[in-house]
C-alpha cells in the first residue's frame, strides 16, 4: 500500500498536467464568470430554475469530463513509453518495485486518480463560479445553490468514474499495451492495428465485425449504464417537464452489471493488462 502511494505521487511529479490542465480550465471558466454578461431573468420560474441549476452543474461536469477523457488517453499512451525513451526505466527497475505494481499504479492513475482530480476541479469551479455570479447578481439564487442538485451530480460523477473505468478497460489496456511495446510513434501504433483489421475485413470478407465491436465499445457506454429505452422514457420522462429528473432514476447499475458486454470487456481488459505487465518485464530501454 505504501509503495502504491509513492508510485501515485511519482505520477503527479512526472505528469504535472494532471493538475495543471484542470486548473487552467477552471481558471478560464472563473474569468468568464467574473467578466461575462449575467442574465438572471431565465431563473424566474421555480421549476425552470431547478432544471437550469442541474444543467449548470451537469454542463460543467461534461466539460471537465471531456477534457479529462482526452488527457487520460494521452496519459495512458505515454505512461509506459516515456521512461523507456529516456532510459530512466533502468533507474525505476533498480528499485524493489515489481512490474505489476508499476503497471497497476499507472492504470489506477489513469482510470481513477485523474478522473477524481477532474471531479474535484469541476466541483471547486462550480462553487467558485456560483459564488462570483451570485455576488455580481446580488442574489444567492436557489438555481446555483441547491444542495440536492449538487449532491446528485456528485453521485453521478462517482457512478460515471466507476462504470467508465470498467467499460473502457479494454481501451485503456490497449493504450498501455502499445505504450509498453512501441519503440516510437505510440499514437500511430495505437490506431494502426484496428484500422488494418477493419480494412482487411472489409476488403476480403466484406463484413463489419471489427467496426461494430469497436464502435459499440466506443459509443455504447451510455445505453448500458443508463435507463434510456423508449418505454422507460415514456414512463418516466413525461413528468420531467414538471419535476426535475432525479439521478437515482436515471442511472442503471443493475443493468450495467448484468450486461454480458460489460463482463466480456472486463475480461479482455484484464488480459491486456496482464500482457502489458509481461511486456514491461521483458522490454527495457529503447
Amino acid at each position: 500500500m505504501k509503495t502504491y502511494s509513492w508510485l501515485i505521487r511519482r505520477e503527479f511529479w512526472e505528469f504535472r498536467a494532471t493538475w495543471l490542465i484542470p486548473a487552467v480550465v477552471g481558471a478560464v471558466l472563473l474569468i468568464s464568470a467574473l467578466f461575462g454578461r449575467i442574465d438572471m431573468t431565465a431563473f424566474d420560474s421555480h421549476l425552470a430554475a431547478l432544471n437550469l441549476g442541474t444543467i449548470y452543474l451537469l454542463g460543467l461536469a461534461v466539460l471537465f469530463y471531456a477534457v479529462m477523457s482526452i488527457y487520460t488517453s494521452w496519459y495512458l499512451m505515454d505512461c509506459l513509453y516515456n521512461d523507456r525513451r529516456d532510459r530512466s526505466i533502468l533507474f525505476w527497475k533498480s528499485l524493489p518495485v515489481s512490474d505489476s505494481q508499476t503497471v497497476l499504479s499507472k492504470l489506477l492513475m489513469g482510470l481513477a486518480v485523474i478522473p477524481l482530480v477532474f471531479m474535484v476541479a469541476a466541483d471547486l469551479t462550480s462553487l467558485l463560479m456560483a459564488f462570483v455570479i451570485s455576488i455580481r447578481a446580488r442574489t444567492f439564487s436557489a438555481v446555483l445553490w441547491n444542495p440536492q442538485t449538487w449532491f446528485q451530480v456528485q453521485v453521478l460523477w462517482l457512478y460515471v468514474i466507476a462504470t467508465t473505468a470498467i467499460w473502457y478497460l479494454p481501451i485503456a489496456g490497449w493504450l498501455m499495451l502499445v505504450s509498453a511495446w512501441a519503440k516510437r510513434a505510440v499514437m500511430l501504433w495505437t490506431l494502426l492495428p484496428p484500422l488494418v483489421l477493419y480494412l482487411i475485413e472489409k476488403w476480403f470478407l466484406n463484413t463489419h465485425v471489427v467496426q461494430n465491436v469497436l464502435g459499440q465499445r466506443l459509443v455504447g457506454y451510455a445505453a448500458v449504464a443508463y435507463h434510456g429505452n423508449e418505454q422507460w422514457i415514456n414512463d418516466n420522462m413525461s413528468e420531467a417537464a414538471t419535476v426535475p429528473v432525479s439521478v437515482w432514476r436515471f442511472i442503471n447499475p443493475a443493468g450495467f452489471f448484468s450486461s454480458l458486454e460489460v463482463w466480456i470487456g472486463l475480461a479482455v481488459g484484464v488480459a491486456m493488462i496482464v500482457g502489458t505487465i509481461q511486456l514491461r518485464m521483458r522490454r527495457s530501454e529503447i
Partner: protein, 285 residues
C-alpha cells in the same frame, strides 16, 4: 560459502544474434569484480540477466534467487547504476530521495543526505538542470545509502570527464566498499578500474575468456621482454601473444615455468589492460 552469483551455460539470444553463449562464471562475496570486454562482447547482456532485466536460457542464481522471476525481491538486496543518463529529467533531487526512501526498506536517508552535503547539489534542482557529473553523484548518493549486498555498475562513468570519474571511484572505494559488499563493474576502459579490482572476468563474443582473481593472474600469466636474438628460443615455449615495441619483443605466457622463462629476459606480471589486449587479440600485434 556458496557464490553470490553463479551462472551455468548462461545464454541470451536476440533473434539469430547470440549475445551470450553458454557463459559460466561465479562471483564470491566481498569481491570487486570487473567484467571486461570490447563493445558488443555481451557485457551488458550478462548484467541485464544478473539484474533480472531480461529473460535468458541456462542457469543463473544471484543472492540465491532466480533474477528474472524474482527481480523485485532481488532489488531489495542488490542495486545498480546503469549509467549516468538514466535519472529522468523531470525528477527533483529531493523527490528522488523521498521516492527511494518510500519504496526501499534498506534505504538510509541520512546517509544519502550526508553524501550530497559534500557536493554543490541542492534538493530543489531537477535532474535535467544538472551536469552529467552531478547526476552521477546523485545516483551514487541514492545507491550508496542502500544497505545492499551487491552493487552492479554498468559503464558507470561513460561520458564523464576525468575529474568526475576519479571522484566517482574514490567515493565508491572509500565510502561504500567493505567486506560484506560485492561490486560487479563492467567497463571497456580497463585502465580506469584495474587498481580497484580483486577479480576479473574477460568476455568476448558472448563467451567467458578468463575468470580469475588478480592474485591468480600473477601466478598464471607472465610477460617476458625478449631481445631479438633469443626470440626463436622463447617462441618454442608457446607464448599466446606477442607484442613488438621499440625493437624489443614482449611475449605473453600462460601457466609459465618462471625458471625457464627467466633465461630469455626480464620477467613481469602483465597489467590487466595488457592481459586484456593479449587475451582478446590473440597472435601477433
Amino acid at each position: 560459502m556458496p557464490a553470490l552469483i553463479e551462472s551455468k551455460d548462461l545464454t541470451k539470444r536476440y533473434g539469430s544474434h547470440i549475445a551470450l553463449d553458454r557463459a559460466n562464471f561465479s562471483i564470491e562475496a566481498g569481491k570487486i569484480v570487473g567484467l571486461i570486454g570490447p563493445n558488443g562482447a555481451g557485457k551488458t547482456s550478462a548484467l541485464r540477466a544478473v539484474l533480472g532485466l531480461t529473460s535468458y536460457e541456462g542457469q543463473l542464481t544471484v543472492l540465491g534467487r532466480e533474477p528474472f522471476r524474482e527481480r523485485t525481491a532481488l532489488m531489495g538486496d542488490a542495486c545498480f547504476i546503469a549509467d549516468v543518463a538514466v535519472l529522468p529529467g523531470w525528477l527533483r533531487v529531493d523527490q528522488a530521495i523521498d521516492f527511494v526512501a518510500g519504496v526501499h526498506p534498506k534505504f538510509r536517508r541520512d546517509r544519502a543526505l550526508g553524501f550530497l552535503a559534500k557536493t554543490q547539489i541542492t534538493g530543489k534542482r531537477k535532474m535535467r538542470e544538472l551536469s552529467k557529473g552531478m547526476k552521477t553523484q546523485v545516483h551514487l548518493a541514492l545507491t550508496m545509502a542502500i544497505d545492499a549486498k551487491l552493487l552492479v555498475l554498468d559503464e558507470p562513468t561513460l561520458g564523464l570527464d576525468i575529474l568526475a570519474r576519479r571522484a566517482f571511484y574514490d567515493a565508491l572505494v572509500n565510502d561504500y566498499m567493505d567486506d560484506t559488499r560485492t561490486i560487479l563493474i563492467t567497463t571497456h576502459q580497463v585502465e580506469e578500474v584495474e587498481n580497484l579490482l580483486t577479480d576479473i572476468i574477460f568476455i568476448d563474443k558472448g563467451r567467458i575468456v578468463l575468470d580469475s582473481s588478480l592474485d591468480d593472474v600473477a601466478v598464471r600469466f607472465a610477460a617476458v621482454t625478449v631481445s631479438p636474438d633469443r626470440i626463436e628460443a622463447a617462441r618454442a615455449e608457446k607464448p599466446f601473444y606477442e607484442r613488438h615495441i621499440l625493437g624489443k619483443s614482449l611475449l605473453y605466457f600462460e601457466n609459465p615455468d618462471p625458471a625457464k622463462l627467466a633465461a630469455f629476459g626480464e620477467l613481469h606480471t602483465p597489467s590487466v589492460s595488457d592481459l586484456f589486449v593479449a587475451k582478446l587479440s590473440g597472435g601477433v600485434a
